[in-house]
């Protein structure tokens, strides 16, 4: 940290008192349906050096409130209340006055690093600009440029001096987010607001960026407000937590307190709705039914009441304020104790119930066929030595080949009846390509794909069409996977029409399908836009079920959904599998979801499977260093565990698949490789490891040794 010491003054002990005080903040916007009350009376404060986590689902007002602090809301927003920075009121300041504070005293890191930097200026220039803007007359151009390079180095960009001259599009997402953090800390601010800083990033990169944020906090001593929907991300990072729902704080307190003793049913449900990576046995997932209320005209009463299993009549009359939770001491009297906005929080305190108990979630059983030994079950999908390369071309008129990307490079796996295989890996590892090859049923560049024993390559057009009946797909984005111009009745009927079902059968099947996924039959004439995200995903699942398939390919089916909705869809998939004996190929980047739903898991890295096997074996005792790193990067929603965990941080980004490393493709980022003596390293660089193992657990590493990176959850948890 020597570089950092010369760069920053460090924590400023002299100035006591909160850095930021927000009081009764209210923000509203005009919209098609009337004024949206995006934030409705939010109060919080941030002490110097303190990390406050604000957690909420989309539309809870968490981002709007932070933009209000920065004074970056559009003109149409109406903002009232008070925002005091170091005692100075920010609301009502002119743009000119605010711009003296922004970037110097308060800075911000945004969600989407891909669009956060201006595409036409170099990264170095954009960092230097932050310094020059506030140091006019004091900082020279050369000084600013030099400091920009130092900052890039500090946030972990290798070869910073050269990279500073690069344009944003030459940076990966993770590197861009580092650059944005460099801009944010350039002027040694007192407060950094990070708005979903890792949401758009892969888990391994997320872990890196969180690490950088922690460093940034250490060197600047700034207070941090970190906004997220992911309870795992804040568990290890935040000191205090504020849970937002429908534009208000519904629970706030010390992070350990809130995780251990949630006093608001919403928080309780939220914690129960996340699948746990550290769950040894299958835990029930808590779905929170319904969806957040519309913020245009809220009915009186607690806004969570319509979704709350503990609702009583009194909940519907008046919106509860934040009550001091019994037993917690508000030591300083400034509202930093544990508080919750629920009139029944005392009852919750008394009984300490489980989320599953309150919300009535149960573990869903296994299909009957699961009792049959795996080897005796029918092979539903068999993929052998699958290869897919893309040619990279240049020029628009006379295209010429300049190289090939080995997106998938010889992978094999099979899926048996009634089984779920999870396919995981970072973006760019080839999992989506694998999926598209399987679904495309077209001529392969190498290897074979067989569905229910029939080789796709040997089939004629009619045979391929017949296979499509047995293999269906559910996509990631419920918004994009349904044709917005078709009523859902037609959406569900389309696969049956294509496969020549008689109209009478179709008319009978459509309501059945709606029942099956838990939607109302009357909604058959509605358009996709009239449904919420979770409902649309159910429609997508119903469409996949229309032809009674044997295999459903699921491409990140829950990653676009809010956590509380996600649990409901996972439970539905679980139930359908149990009832209909389906097989799933489940592609996901969220390993916790995979752990919950999958029977077996395959981990991909740069077009290769590096580890495959029974989900408990792979997650419980991962043998490949990549799997270990991947698992260790997943945050666990438990502050105690999260802070004690040993974390493996991978270096750098995924290498380009157009030019993969020799030998073991992972060796460039491998911590195990780095620790090996020179002579043993050679084998990693020169020889590609084969996928080998015993029982249902194989890995592709020359020096594999199992290492538990996730401690299983104790049974008496909570």
């Amino acid at each position: 940290m020597t570089a950092a010491e010369t760069l920053f003054e460090g924590p400023d002990a002299e100035r006591a008192g909160p850095v930021l005080e927000v009081d009764d903040l209210r923000v509203s916007f005009p919209s098609e349906d009337g004024r949206v009350q995006a934030v409705r009376g939010l109060s919080y404060r941030v002490a110097p050096g303190e990390v406050l986590g604000i957690v909420g689902e989309s539309g809870s007002g968490k981002s709007v409130s932070s933009l209000a602090v920065m004074g970056l809301l559009p003109d149409s927003a109406r903002v009232t209340g008070s925002i005091r920075f170091r005692g100075r009121e920010l609301l009502g300041l002119s743009d000119g006055e605010l711009s003296k504070i922004r970037g110097r005293r308060v800075s911000m890191v945004f969600q989407d690093p891909l669009s956060a930097l201006t595409p036409v200026y170099t990264v170095g220039d954009q960092i230097a600009e932050a310094l020059l803007t506030h140091g006019r007359g004091r900082v020279s151009r050369q000084q600013a440029d030099r400091r920009a390079v130092e900052l890039l180095d500090l946030v972990g960009i290798p070869n910073a001096a050269a990279r500073a001259k690069a344009f944003p599009h030459e940076f990966s997402g993770g590197m861009r987010q580092r650059a944005v953090i460099a801009i944010a800390i350039a002027n040694d601010p007192d407060l950094i607001i990070a708005d979903e800083p890792t949401t758009a990033l892969d888990v391994t990169v997320q872990a890196q960026v969180l690490e950088v944020l922690k460093t940034a906090q250490e060197v600047t001593g700034a207070g941090i407000v970190i906004i997220t929907h992911d309870l795992g991300v804040v568990a290890g990072f935040a000191d205090r937590l504020l849970v937002m729902y429908a534009g208000r704080a519904v629970e706030t307190g010390d992070v350990h307190e809130v995780y251990r003793r949630p006093r608001m049913p919403y928080t309780l449900g939220l914690l129960g709705s996340i699948p746990r990576l550290d769950a040894a046995q299958k835990q029930p997932l808590v779905p929170i039914e319904g969806q957040p209320p519309s913020l245009t005209d809220l009915p009186p009463g607690c806004p969570f009441a319509p979704r709350c299993p503990m609702v009583v009549d009194a909940c519907l009359t008046e919106e509860p304020p934040l009550f001091q939770v019994d037993g917690s001491v508000d030591a300083t009297g400034d509202g930093t104790g544990h508080r919750a906005a629920c009139i029944r929080s005392a009852e919750i305190a008394e009984r300490e119930p489980d989320a599953a108990e309150v919300f009535g979630a149960e573990v869903i059983g296994e299909p009957e066929i699961a009792a049959v030994p795996r080897a005796e079950r029918e092979v539903v999908l068999d993929v052998a030595d699958l290869v897919k390369t893309f040619t990279v071309t240049k020029g628009s008129v006379f295209k010429r080949k300049v190289g090939a990307v080995h997106a998938v490079d010889g992978i094999s796996f099979d899926i048996r009846a009634g089984e779920t295989l999870g396919l995981v890996g970072e973006s760019g590892c080839g999992k989506t390509t694998t999926l598209m090859e399987i679904l495309g049923l077209e001529e392969l560049m190498g290897g074979s794909i067989s569905v229910l024993g029939k080789r796709a390559a040997e089939l004629d057009k009619a045979g391929r069409k017949a296979i499509r009946r047995d293999m269906q797909v559910v996509f990631q984005d419920p918004q994009a996977s349904l044709d917005p111009r078709m009523p859902i009745g037609d959406v569900l009927a389309e696969p049956m029409q294509v496969h020549g079902y008689p109209a009478a059968d179709i008319a009978k099947r459509v309501p059945e399908l709606l029942d099956l996924v838990g939607l109302r039959r009357e909604h058959v004439g509605r358009y996709p836009a009239e449904f919420s995200g979770g409902q649309r995903q159910r429609i997508g699942i119903a469409r996949a079920l229309a032809l009674n398939p044997r295999l459903i390919v699921l491409d990140e089916p829950v990653s676009a959904l809010d956590v509380s909705i996600q649990a409901g869809v996972i439970n539905l998939l679980d139930r359908l599998k149990a009832e209909l004996g389906l097989s799933y190929l489940f592609v996901a980047h969220d390993l916790s979801v995979v752990r919950h739903i999958a029977d077996r898991v395959a981990v991909m890295y740069l077009g290769k499977i590096v580890e495959i096997g029974d989900v408990d074996a792979v997650f419980g005792a991962p043998r490949h260093p990549y799997t270990q790193a991947l698992l260790s990067a997943i945050p666990i929603p438990d502050p105690v565990k999260e802070r004690q965990r040993e974390r493996i941080i991978l270096e750098g980004d995924l290498p380009s698949p157009a030019n993969p490393p020799t030998g073991c493709r992972f060796h460039t980022r491998c911590f195990l490789y780095a620790s090996l003596p020179e002579e043993r390293r050679r084998i990693c660089v020169e020889t590609e490891p084969a996928l080998e193992g015993s029982g249902d657990h194989s890995d592709a590493c020359h020096f594999a040794r199992s290492r538990a990176v996730v401690e299983p959850m104790a049974d008496d948890h909570r």
Binding site: M108, T118, P119, A186, V397
Partner: protein, 324 residues
């Protein structure tokens, strides 16, 4: 990058030839210059008509005539008109007249158009935005031949006001004007103002609409927010980060805008009595002269493609993402 631009250029040459051939073939197929001669009173003797036919190679099939013509062009010979004048002799003067109109028009159009669009976007839904929008809509809905005629009125009014006929609306310069180079420039300026305004107004309206929406797109962008978050005032962020980025789509538009300009230029030349390429095209069609039509087409195709090529270059200059 250079390779890319060269390949583009090669494609353009092919397109140029194809376009010229198409126009030549079409003209040869529909035109019948002999019929016009026959209508003369008294009708010319048959021998004269035959000689004319041979002169114009009308006895040959169309592709062969085209090849003959292209062969000539390669040696700087664009053929002869129906009235037996050399095309190439008249070409430079007409090209000069047209380019003068186009270039000044496009420079004024892009400059003021971008300015107007930006003002409109950052003052969205204010009076200045509504006025700019109204202006653009009215201009874009007014054909050039109406606009030109309309502009003659205020020009007349201006002349009446100052008491001399300063603004001229017919011709390119005073016939038989004698004087120094500088005086000649002043004289041409008097003839230039109204026609150029006619052309430029349309261009301003066109570019301002696109610049406005490009700017509005940028106004909601994340990087503009980042720039403000680092301490730039809204105005500075808008100009340094917003405008710079919003100029990128303008590069692509430039090529399309040029096509618009050429059609508009033809009308302008006719209305204000400028003997440019557009005027020549009309003359060529009326006198059923394939050589003139092909020459003008070649000129237009070259202009359109040069503007397309320029817009590619401009795009690469403005956007680091396409500089490979």
């Amino acid at each position: 990058m250079i390779g890319f631009l060269l390949r583009r250029l090669a494609n353009y040459v092919v397109l140029c030839l194809a376009a010229t051939f198409l126009a030549f073939a079409l003209a040869s197929a529909t035109f019948d210059p002999i019929a016009i001669l026959q209508q003369r009173n008294p009708p010319p003797p048959a021998a004269v008509l035959d000689a004319k036919r041979a002169d114009l190679h009308l006895d040959q099939p169309v592709p062969q005539r085209f090849l003959t013509w292209v062969g000539g062009v390669a040696h700087g010979d664009f053929g002869r008109t129906v009235t037996d004048r050399s095309v190439v002799e008249e070409l430079p003067r007409r090209v000069g007249v047209s380019l003068r109109l186009f270039l000044i028009g496009v420079v004024l159009g892009v400059g003021f158009g971008v300015l107007l669009g930006v003002i409109s976007a950052i003052r969205q839904y204010r009076l200045s935005d509504y006025l700019a929008t109204l202006f653009s809509f009215v201009i874009l809905s007014t054909p050039v031949f109406v606009l030109g005629t309309l502009l003659k009125q205020p020009a007349q009014g201006f002349n009446d006001l100052i008491g001399t006929n300063y603004l001229q609306t017919l011709g390119e310069q005073t016939p038989g004007f004698q004087g120094s180079w500088f005086a000649s420039l002043g004289d041409r300026l008097r003839y230039l103002i109204v026609p150029t305004a006619t052309i430029a107004l349309g261009q301003i309206a066109y570019y301002s609409r696109y610049q406005r929406s490009a700017m509005l797109d940028v106004l909601g962008s994340d990087f503009l927010r980042t720039a403000q978050a680092k301490g730039l005032t809204r105005r500075r962020a808008l100009f340094k980060h917003g405008l710079r980025t919003a100029l990128i789509p303008m590069a692509t538009l430039f090529a399309f805008g040029f096509g618009l300009l050429i059609t508009g230029g033809t009308f302008t030349e006719r209305i204000f009595g400028w003997y440019g390429m557009g005027d020549w095209l009309i003359t060529g069609v009326v006198s059923q002269d394939a050589n003139i039509v092909a020459t003008v087409t070649l000129f237009i195709a070259v202009l359109v493609l040069v503007s397309g090529w320029l817009s590619d270059v401009l795009y690469a200059v403005l956007d680091p993402r396409v500089r490979v």
